[in-house]
């Protein structure tokens, strides 16, 4: 069947099997390898992408279900000129990764948390940890991921204050 969707602002259209999972469509049809493919059971949260602004697990969504929708992957976070999104910069500043396997899902989920939170600089540790509880990291113990998300929230508040 023909499936069309916008990924990071770009139109993609492919003839695929209805059973094709969105994570494989993104990686193999759209050839965007930033989104990782992990447990395949919706437990690990590595494959999280935004669909119409909401994070979803792309291993548990058919490409067909995303037909006509707007997808943002980790590649879509950075600005057109290559400037890192504050959430990406935050993972760099706070050493929010070690092996990097869970990082795309953590960044996309963190971006969503900051965007939907009414007061991102006041986020509690519990709120951040709850938001990323659908993602598994086996390297960091999560402390640096929490710090990275907090760094991004503070950086954006600062930037907003300066402008």
């Amino acid at each position: 069947m023909l499936v069309s969707m916008t990924i990071n602002g770009q139109e993609h259209s492919h003839d695929v099997e209805p059973r094709l999972l969105l994570v494989h469509y993104i990686r193999e049809n759209a050839e965007l390898h930033g989104t990782h493919w992990g447990c395949d059971t919706s437990n690990c949260g590595i494959c999280v992408v935004l669909m119409d602004g909401e994070p979803i697990k792309s291993c548990t969504t058919l490409a067909a279900m995303a037909d006509g929708h707007e997808i943002i992957t980790v590649e879509g976070l950075e600005a057109a000129d290559g400037t890192l999104d504050p959430i990406q910069q935050g993972f760099h500043e706070m050493h929010g990764l070690h092996c990097g396997f869970c990082t795309p899902g953590m960044m996309v989920t963190g971006r969503w948390l900051i965007d939907k939170h009414p007061n991102p600089t006041q986020m509690t540790d519990h709120e951040i940890r709850d938001a990323i509880s659908g993602g598994l990291c086996r390297c960091t113990g999560y402390n640096n991921i929490v710090k990275a998300i907090r760094w991004a929230a503070a950086y954006e508040a600062d930037a907003a204050g300066r402008s």
Binding site: E17, R19, L20, L21, A64, M65, D130, G134
Partner: protein
């Protein structure tokens, strides 16, 4: 540079090749979108039962990967979300549309006001926020997983499922009849769950207790308790336990023992003992049966105590 992902044979692979790549992908199936509830039912009819309704997909797609569900055709009802995602009061009932997502129930002021605090408590520990963005009440009930939290809530609240069939025919099914067995429901091949209705009781208090191995996991044991207390007397009660039997366990003996009594810790301890005796857990990776039996009793007592405190507040 050899990027194996580019040189991989055409995806997706089925049969034996699937095993060599350790790839989890559903078996081949067809896919269509529904344009209305009646269109979905019409498609079910035309496909003669060889089809499943696809809502959030967070139960059905994993089941298809495991080959525990092998529908020849998926009918996607996500386009019906505007029609089927709602939480509203009608007369003395709360009605929740089948496509209402877990997140909507977690964040609903109407549910929290009407049924404090069972929906908020159960939804907060059901899977994780990302899964809750997609999963629906209809999917949860139709999956009929005996360890799933929301099913326990619906049983304890005496929810009634609205099933629509060919020609717009609707029938109402209580939860005791709805859950036929593990992963089996009363929903017919050409029927679709469209709504769940909950009676509103004055003096309501409710709670959901869960013990799990890690955040967002299925329960080792969970207990859902609902009380309606008027004039210092329990007028109605609902008790359900999850993950301790072939279906969500409806602890009717405890409900009967509670109704007509004044709430007390001793009464709730007795009700917990009944839950412990009447459930039928099995030994598995989440623990031995006698442990789960014990936990079911403790959680039922705790949930009832907290439900009473809320009702009497």
């Amino acid at each position: 540079m050899d990027l194996s992902v580019h040189t991989q044979p055409q995806y997706p692979l089925g049969g034996e090749e699937r095993h060599t790549l350790a790839m989890q992908t559903p078996a081949p199936c067809e896919y269509s979108r529904a344009t209305s509830v009646d269109d979905a039912i019409g498609q079910l009819e035309a496909l003669n039962g060889n089809a499943r309704i696809l809502a959030g997909g967070h139960s059905l797609i994993p089941m298809m990967k495991l080959r525990l569900a092998n529908p020849g055709h998926l009918i996607d009802i996500n386009p019906l979300e505007p029609e089927l995602n709602y939480i509203r009061q009608e007369g003395n009932e709360i009605r929740i549309g089948a496509m209402t997502r877990h997140r909507d129930m977690l964040e609903s002021d109407l549910l929290e006001r009407t049924f404090p605090h069972i929906f908020a408590e159960a939804e907060a520990v059901l899977a994780d926020p990302v899964v809750r963005n997609r999963g629906t009440i209809g999917g949860s009930l139709c999956q009929s997983d005996p360890a799933e939290d929301l099913s326990g809530v619906v049983v304890a609240l005496k929810g009634v499922a609205v099933l629509r069939g060919p020609g717009g025919a609707e029938r109402l099914v209580e939860m005791d009849e709805f859950h036929v067995g593990p992963y089996m429901t009363a929903v017919g091949d050409t029927e679709m769950l469209t709504e769940v209705r909950f009676p509103i009781q004055p003096g309501h208090g409710s709670a959901h207790e869960k013990v799990e191995r890690r955040a967002g996991d299925f329960a080792i044991v969970a207990a859902s308790a609902v009380l309606s207390i008027q004039g210092g007397v329990i007028k109605s009660a609902g008790v359900a336990c999850s993950a301790v039997g072939p279906t969500t366990m409806h602890i009717e003996r405890a409900e009967k023992a509670l109704v007509g009594q004044a709430p007390s810790e001793q009464l709730f301890a007795e009700a917990g003992k009944m839950a412990s005796e009447d459930c039928s857990p099995s030994n598995d990776g989440r623990g031995p049966a006698d442990y789960k039996r014990h936990v079911a009793g403790v959680l039922t007592t705790r949930a009832l105590s907290r439900a009473a405190a809320t009702a009497l507040r």
